[in-house]
């Protein structure tokens, strides 16, 4: 097999400081004393860009290897490489992060509206603009007594200062420092981060009021204290990157701390079953929702997270009737620490279509106010957030974007456990590379910037509250979409 990348070192710039050598966990760079030169072993390079970013003289470049197999539109270089790999290993191919395949990104085919003349735009720097969001059941009926006091059914809810939350990433799939960064950022931003299925590290209980505690099929780390610690509980039924299968954390990553947090023996694989073995119907799901509510004294909203799959609207309708307060839908472009390549690249549907279908279905059935809808699975910018909310979401989950803020360069090698940026690794010397003091500020910066942009875009539309944007599909127009796609998204074509 040929190396995928080529390390280009500019000899006029290289000062042989050996920083690249010290920083590469894949051992690509090496100083050769005999030659008095830095040399490269490109076979193990994953193009994570750590060496490039830290090189003090900008002497390095990583390029795709120009060496090519004979051109073939059907048998691409990558497909051939994968066949060779499997012929050598006999194993299932593993990949990480979201699918890199060229599937349509509907966000990029939707345009936003702005006000002109008759309905003037609003300047968010001069006038109040509301992005605070509440997630949970919305009371259907409000009555007033003779004193004018409102009476309505009170149900637990989440209060978000920004309509963006950090999506589930377990301690195990990401490092403790990454978790600390997310927890501290969520606290400062007035939003929530999600423990994923790895339990909650004992040091992070103090961030509980900004934590969503996940209960997944493996039930790792779940006990009363854990359920009580968070602001909400999320039942993970599926994940966008790998619908239909559970997570798998290899034993080599299960060190003392993870073993304690997940409550499993050190060094054993943490394999989450594909289904919850106690959930085979909506009625079973309802039992778990109510069990978790009962266990936490009916004080916390329950989220049910499902992957965007073919029948997502019908599934969401069932989930809404199961007693869940919030439905989280994860699109197929969503990330993962590790998933079988074929599943990641071929299973599921785009989040845009899933969201439109779910929102329409819940409205048609008159149960939209029984649940809030949160969407994730590659929300890449404030524009995606605005489009998602206008399509019908109450809030968005971000995870890949959050990891990028922490230094991730999307090399998609999380499964190797050798993340050079200290994110998707448990090796102590690598974990150290992510200083949470730096990380949390970058996350706060990112979400604050997005919030500003959301306000700017809303202002342009003449809308001063996120409530008025939600499900406001008139603000959206499609470009280059077929009539079928427009119908599914429930939007008109640009020009209409």
């Amino acid at each position: 097999m040929n190396p995928l990348y080529e390390v280009v070192r500019n000899p006029d710039r290289c000062i042989k400081c050996r920083v690249c050598e010290r920083q590469c966990a894949n051992e690509v760079h090496k100083y050769d004393a005999e030659l008095d030169k830095m040399i490269s072993n490109e076979m193990t390079c994953v193009d994570c860009q750590r060496c490039v970013c830290l090189c003090p003289t900008h002497a390095l470049k990583i390029r795709p290897n120009e060496n090519q197999f004979r051109e073939n539109a059907n048998w691409s270089h990558q497909i051939m490489d994968e066949v060779y790999k499997q012929a050598g290993s006999g194993g299932v191919l593993l990949s990480a992060m979201g699918t890199p395949k060229q599937y349509p990104v509907y966000w990029d085919k939707i345009l936003l509206n702005a006000s002109q003349v008759t309905n003037p735009p609003i300047d968010p720097l001069r006038e109040p603009m509301e992005t605070k969001t509440f997630l949970g059941k919305k009371s259907q009926k409000i009555t007033y007594d003779e004193n004018g006091k409102a009476h309505y059914e009170k149900t637990p809810y989440l209060e978000l200062d920004v309509p963006i939350m950090f999506s589930a990433m377990s301690f195990g799939s990401i490092s403790k420092n990454a978790h600390e960064s997310l927890a501290r950022a969520a606290t400062e931003l007035g939003t929530y981060y999600n423990t994923g299925e790895g339990g909650l590290h004992e040091d992070f209980y103090k961030y509980g009021k900004n934590t969503i505690c996940q209960v997944a099929s493996g039930r790792f780390g779940v006990f009363k204290g854990y359920l009580d610690a968070g602001a909400a509980i999320e039942i993970k039924m599926g994940q966008g990157a790998k619908p239909g299968i559970g997570g798998h954390l290899p034993g080599m990553k299960i060190n003392d701390e993870i073993s304690r947090t997940r409550m499993i023996p050190k060094g054993t694989d943490a394999i989450s079953p594909a289904p919850h073995h106690d959930i085979y119907s909506i009625e079973d799901l309802r039992q778990l929702v109510f069990s978790l509510k009962e266990a936490t004294n009916w004080e916390k909203p329950v989220i049910v997270k499902i992957a965007a799959v073919h029948n997502v609207a019908a599934i969401a309708s069932g989930v809404a009737r199961s007693g869940a307060d919030i439905i989280a839908i994860d699109g197929f472009r969503g990330g993962t620490g590790a998933a079988p390549t074929r599943i990641r690249d071929n299973v599921g549907i785009p989040i845009e279509l899933a969201l439109a279908a779910v929102d329409s279905r819940l409205r048609d059935e008159g149960i939209r106010n029984d649940v809030s809808v949160v969407v994730g699975g590659s929300i890449r910018s404030a524009a995606d957030v605005v489009k998602a909310i206008a399509l019908g979401a109450d809030a968005c989950y971000i995870a890949s974007a959050a990891l990028l803020a922490l230094g991730c360069h999307l090399c998609r090698s999380c499964n190797t456990g050798k993340c050079n940026w200290g994110i998707a690794t448990q090796r102590a010397d690598l974990v150290k590379r992510l200083n949470p003091d730096v990380g949390y500020k970058r996350l706060v910066n990112l979400v604050t910037a997005w919030d500003h942009e959301v306000k700017e875009i809303m202002g342009g539309m003449g809308i001063n509250s996120i409530e008025a944007l939600r499900g406001n599909r008139l603000m959206l127009r499609g470009v280059g979409l077929t009539q079928k796609e427009l119908d599914l998204l429930g939007i008109q074509h640009a020009g209409e």
Binding site: D12, R13, I15, K16, C17, R18, V19, R22, Q23, C53, L54, P56, T57, A428, D429, K432, R433, N435, D437, V438
Partner: protein, 145 residues
């Protein structure tokens, strides 16, 4: 006085601080020129590496400053703010300060036969500690304590 402090929890032993320091104090206007033709300018900060703990060491500008007291050539001095610095034109390279520094912060420059020590980048073109600016993980900070 603001001083340079090191937090060993975040030091990665990447040694970038040494290179940023050496370049900033070399008189050259870029790192490439500072290290051109195999030149090896001496850094005033040095990373101590262990198996688990690493940290960078440089002058603490301590109140006792035994180096200044012991300097036989009058090359070392303390400014009003408390910055200990070395006049390399006066330094005779005797090494008394190196022996007397309890922190091991003073570095001999064998080639120039003088000592090199951190002066918080007050004299070079950088103006602010180059090690602090160059540290990729905030392991070195410049602050009042």
């Amino acid at each position: 006085m603001k001083k340079v402090y090191v937090n060993e929890d975040w030091c990665l032993a990447c040694h970038l601080c040494e290179f940023y320091c050496a370049a900033a104090n070399s008189g050259a206007d870029s790192m490439i020129k500072a290290f051109r033709d195999g030149k090896k300018p001496v850094p005033r900060i040095q990373v101590e590496e262990g198996s688990e703990v690493n940290f960078a060491v440089q002058c603490r500008h301590c109140d006792e400053h035994p180096c200044v007291k012991g300097c036989i050539a009058g090359a070392l001095s303390v400014s009003d703010e408390g910055v200990v610095s070395c006049d390399e034109n006066k330094c005779v390279g005797c090494g008394t300060c190196i022996l007397s520094c309890p922190y091991g912060c003073i570095v001999p420059d064998e080639e120039a036969h003088v000592i090199r020590k951190c002066d918080l980048c007050v004299k070079n073109h950088n103006g602010a500690p180059a090690c602090v600016e160059g540290c990729p993980n905030n392991a070195i900070v410049f602050e009042e304590r």
